[in-house]
Symmetry: C2
């Protein structure tokens, strides 16, 4: 997060978690920063979501800082929850010399539990003091909940002599645990892009990354993605290159979330081609990676193509099953809607190698589906459904 | 199925399954019967679905018989599959003295595998010979695949001096295994109802029964429900009573399917009230019973209300979370969107009693959600997600 010039971050242990882990993070963007965000589409939303959207709208994206706590989602906490957000951001703004409107707050943790404000208020001073240009990695640690691994990434490019850096961090573990709410992700960029260009650019990247993954199909009350830029203006002719960078970085983070899905053993990539539009392909790819039956078959390294095309068939996209072709990695299983001769053991072996990490050409099981003659295509990512997932989620709050 | 007067059924072991179980069933309705059906909405459909819909349309519902095989879904089997259906129904029609258009065929089993026609053709003669007025129970056995229990039911009522009987059978086990395709269900009734009344009557019952259950959210290539009536005309003023009977019977069968979901230990009933329409309530109830996280929590007897309202929030129905109230059985956990004091151990104990079958007031865990002041309401049924579900589905075809 702090690889791009001018961005600072810090993290503290405020005591929100029972463990001794970091649980409070702060990100500060340079003066003049532009920020845009995408948020959960659930009708049950934490009040920090409403506050963030309101402030981004009111300031036209002129937001400078975001504070993130992990341990309590502060969702379904009524007026007390909203007031806590107002107070917390006001204190941070004052100490940073900003307006409250320029500061956002995000939370992740158990729904229905408010942020312990005495702990938070006590941690703000040292958190701000700790802000520095190498703080990104600690911040990436502090936002984790049940994640097993830290998720961060940075890219650098020379765009016509201007060195441009982008950085990012994320947490997830389930695409969501609506209870240990949330997928959170953040991006920073040290080239200045006008808000009206930045917003659609970020939206397109999110569509092909965070909106293309699923761990368990559930959506949280607190899902948030924020993307900041600040720095020297970038020549228009490099905007496309920058967008490619945004896409690579967000895809990396999204795949890291899917790979670290609860109880997951293997990343699944589904590539759908031949639809009338990219959106249709995405609907199908997402339905496949979200299917419990497909995910359970993946867990057992079972190349169960019937479940895959059955999932495709219920995605709401019209196609002719007589045109469907399907591959597992390099192996074709289905041609024009009908099974063809293939060696099941060979395909199982491919899946097992992928799971062990011994398949050299890719780090995930790749399923490719061609469903027609259209030019639409999309990729989506998910993971297997394991007995461990059930164990983790069977007895969580109590 | 054969409780209503005039209906005959039979079953045989044709050898479609490796086990010694019955695997071929036939149902024959009396002369003058009216039939209507509802079918999978998947774009990947077995050819028997297309044939059934075509014949019901062409005959205006004047269909007399349906043959059902279990073991092979005969889906994704191309022209050979369609031709097998034409031949099989033609042979049955000839031997019964019917037109081919009056005979349907349904299949359930592994996708991509055709019906072994030599076995089928050999079994048709004895199957027809075995037709009798007590054959319903054997037919209900013959349509099962991985189901653990047989699902059948019959009701009788005196409607103004006319004794009316309805009967039904179903198979499911997963709401669907798209691979061991399918949910199949059948209903018979010995009061005559005109097709234009029967069709919407059946449709309303299906909406509140088979369309209100979910085991794993997956939809099959072969899902079929057929409802026959034949007999003495029923006075218009009793049509409502009959519809109530249809609803009770289809709900019984639907709940039996959810209860027998793969690896399931407990039936879940979700009752949503206070929406603007019944349809909105159904969308929310279905989303909750379909959530992997809700289902996993149920498995662990964990009253995790955060997951329930998070699932409600992504059902696509707008509501204000500040108005949500939530109960587990008799215990209220949430009032106006905020958690209230409750004894978690008591609620867990309630769930455990339900799971053991020791909770006398109901045979399922009941979750009630009031989300506003509207008059809409609906119920949906599902089951827990167990480690056994994953084991069953991890290694199925191979």
């Amino acid at each position: 997060m702090t690889a791009p010039e001018g961005f600072k971050a810090s993290a503290r242990r405020a005591g929100f978690k029972e463990s001794n882990d970091l649980d409070l993070a702060l990100l500060l963007a340079p003066d003049g920063a532009v920020c845009c965000g995408t948020f959960t589409e659930s009708f049950v939303r934490a009040s920090c979501i409403d506050l963030s959207q309101k402030r981004l709208r009111e300031t036209g994206g002129r937001v400078r800082a975001v504070m993130i706590n992990s341990g309590q989602a502060n969702a379904c906490t009524g007026d007390a929850g909203s007031e806590a957000n107002l107070l917390a951001t006001q204190v941070v703004a004052e100490k940073l010399g900003l307006k409250p409107q320029e500061v956002l707050i995000n939370s992740t943790g158990v729904i229905g539990v408010p942020i312990p404000m005495h702990k938070l208020l006590k941690a703000i001073d040292p958190l701000i003091e700790a802000l520095n240009e190498n703080g990104g990695s600690n911040a990436a640690k502090a936002i984790l909940t049940t994640d097993l691994v830290q998720k961060e990434c940075a890219l650098k490019a020379d765009l016509g002599g201007q060195i441009v850096r982008i950085g990012g961090m994320a947490k997830g573990s389930g695409m969501i645990h609506p209870n240990m709410a949330t997928m959170l992700a953040y991006l920073t960029c040290d080239a200045a892009i006008p808000e009206n260009i930045w917003r659609p650019m970020v939206k397109r990247a999110v569509e092909k990354s965070f909106n293309s993954i699923s761990v368990d199909g559930d959506t949280s009350t607190n899902d948030t993605f924020l993307a900041f830029n600040a720095g020297k203006d970038l020549d228009k002719k490099y905007w496309n290159s920058l967008e490619n960078g945004l896409l690579e970085l967000t895809k990396y983070l999204a795949k890291a979330i899917a790979r670290d899905g609860e109880g997951a053993n293997i990343l699944l990539e589904v590539n759908v081609v031949g639809t009338n539009s990219d959106h249709d392909a995405l609907l199908i790819a997402r339905t496949i990676v979200s299917s419990s039956l497909v995910k359970a078959a993946l867990n057992g390294c079972d190349p169960n193509w019937g479940r895959i095309i059955a999932a495709a068939g219920r995605a709401g996209v019209s196609f002719r099953s007589e045109e469907v072709c399907l591959w597992f990695g390099p192996y074709q299983l289905l041609s024009n809607g009908q099974p063809i001769q293939y060696d099941c053991e060979t395909v199982k072996e491919y899946m097992k190698l992928c799971m062990k990490g011994d398949y050299l050409e890719s780090d995930c099981v790749l399923i490719r589906l061609s469903i027609g003659k259209g030019s639409g295509s999309a990729r989506a990512w998910g993971c297997d459904l394991s007995e461990k997932y059930v164990r983790i989620n069977a007895d969580y709050t109590t």
